[in-house]
């Protein structure tokens, strides 16, 4: 991983490439303030008190967007920023949120934005595992009192916790099959239709994939690479004031471990006459050509 001062440049370079891809997909950048008023539904951030008010520094972007933009009919936005989690050092994240899209289309689009974003960073060896909370809700119908225990087992990937529950052997076998379900298609129309639209063989259906965030409603996904020990990112579906929405977050600090910085492209202008050099440089800049005046 790139360390030290070089890391700051790399994060900016990665952010710039992601910004370019998100914009090309029609997403508008949203810049959220560093400090947010404290609200229980806003996740993460570092809490502090100022003049009897409670605040959060750099909380999670998705929960802030849900809290602040729930009234819009349709919105495609992206953000790039640091997220703190109770401490003073955080993680840089870039992500998109699509609120109010068309069923099936919106989910496919969000996955495609994630795929093209990683490809823009020249990261090809990644996978996306899609899980479904609805599948687990259906599998635990009639045994709702054990749902929390079953989800706890799933988060730990510890089937022994399910084995200890007073469930029938048939139900345990069914849950075991879901625990280990990892295939190219799900047999569920809704999910398979989305997979067909996306058409990328790096996507798997893995019902063992769960993300412990309270706002997800059904589909959730995790992006990872065999070359990185931690997830590159993840996302899922949620609901905002009755509208369906979906988004994802990429963990820039983890992406850096896979990212090979590229040489900066710019026209270098040399000369002894400053007026001429800067006159030429200005013309290049106006034409959209990056320049650097050698001094």
């Amino acid at each position: 991983m790139t360390r030290g001062r070089g890391e700051f440049f790399c994060i900016a370079e990665v952010a710039e490439r992601l910004r370019s891809i998100f914009t090309r997909w029609g997403y508008r950048e949203i810049v959220l303030p560093v400090v947010e008023n404290y609200a229980p539904q806003i996740r993460k951030g570092t809490k502090f008190v100022h003049e009897n008010g409670f605040y959060l520094i750099c909380p999670d972007a998705t929960s802030r967007i849900i809290a602040n933009f729930g009234d819009v009919e349709k919105m495609r936005v992206f953000y790039i920023g640091e997220v703190l989690n109770g401490g003073v050092r955080g993680e840089w994240q870039a992500g998109i949120e699509f609120i109010g899209g068309r069923e099936g289309w919106m989910q496919a689009e969000v996955l495609l934005v994630a795929i093209t974003a990683l490809e823009a960073l020249n990261i090809q060896d990644f996978y996306i595992d899609i899980g479904s909370l609805e599948v687990w809700r259906r599998a635990t119908e009639g045994i709702e009192s054990f749902r929390e225990d079953i989800f706890a087992a799933l988060f730990r990937r510890n089937f022994e916790l399910v084995e200890r529950l007073p469930l029938t052997e048939k139900k345990k076998r069914e849950l075991w099959a879901l625990f280990n379900f990892r295939k190219r298609s799900s047999g569920i129309d809704r999910i398979d239709r989305i997979l067909r639209i996306v058409g990328d063989n790096r996507i798997f259906v893995d019902f063992g994939t769960v993300r412990p965030l309270p706002y997800y409603t059904d589909l959730i996904f995790e992006i990872y690479s065999p070359r990185a020990g931690r997830p590159l990112g993840g996302g899922g579906e949620y609901r905002v004031m009755g509208k369906e929405a979906m988004g994802f977050t990429l963990n820039l600090n983890t992406l850096l471990s896979l990212y090979a910085p590229r040489p900066r492209k710019r026209r270098v202008i040399e000369g002894v006459d400053a007026k001429k050099a800067y006159s030429l440089a200005r013309r290049y800049v106006e034409m959209g050509i990056p320049v650097e005046v050698e001094q």
Binding site: D129, R157, E160, R182, D206, Y224, P226, G229, R230
Partner: protein, 201 residues
């Protein structure tokens, strides 16, 4: 597949269990990694961090996993390293946890301790130490400690008494989230072999 083992009390039973289900090339004395690079040894408290950041599998105490709050899978509890994490005070200053407001509590487990007292709505000052925690309460540097208790003989030797259990502790097999996906078969085979060995089936 790379495996990381904890130094200290869990090392021998962990090694014994693993060597019954797989061939292991061990690190030489004073070396922390085996010649083939597949077996690593680290401080018990650091094992969850290594696994979270890319080592495939590790064995760690549930105390370390809880303290580090690491994002790892915990597919198996192991039948050794059982003890408890408890609050202890000097014998002559015995109190209820609810009455510990303003106490200075010394511990290696500052995160677990903060969470425990916050949940109990008791405001304490947590003092982070890296070992020999019993000494702090014995000589009065701290009012109480939070420490691993097995037979309580170390507590008794320092005139301390256990007043509340925070959690039961045991050894756990922990797995990196990404390894569970990309080395699915290999890791599941290890889990099956360990389950067979533990359950005697």
């Amino acid at each position: 597949m790379r495996i990381i083992l904890p130094k200290g009390r869990l090392f021998s039973p962990a090694l014994k269990l693993l060597s019954r289900v797989m061939e292991l090339q061990l690190p030489e004395a004073h070396v922390l990694i085996s010649p083939d690079g597949r077996v690593l040894v680290a401080r018990a408290m650091d094992v969850p961090v290594y696994v979270e950041h890319g080592i495939d599998v590790g064995i760690a105490g549930s105390d370390a996993v809880e303290e580090r709050n690491s994002d790892v899978f915990v597919p198996l509890e192991l039948p050794f390293g059982r003890c408890r994490l408890s609050v202890a005070v000097p014998v002559d200053k015995r109190v209820e946890v609810e009455d510990m407001d303003g106490f200075r509590v010394a511990t290696k487990y500052s995160n677990i301790t903060r969470r425990f007292f916050r949940k109990m709505k008791v405001d304490v000052e947590v003092m982070k130490l890296h070992g020999s925690v019993e000494l702090s309460a014995h000589i009065g540097v701290a009012d109480a400690i939070v420490e691993i208790v097995d037979t309580a003989s170390t507590l008794r030797a320092h005139n301390l008494v256990e007043i509340a259990k925070i959690m039961d502790v045991s050894a756990l097999l922990i797995v990196n989230r990404i390894s569970q996906k990309v080395k699915f078969e290999e890791i599941n085979a290890l889990l099956r072999a360990l389950r067979r060995e533990i359950n005697g089936a």
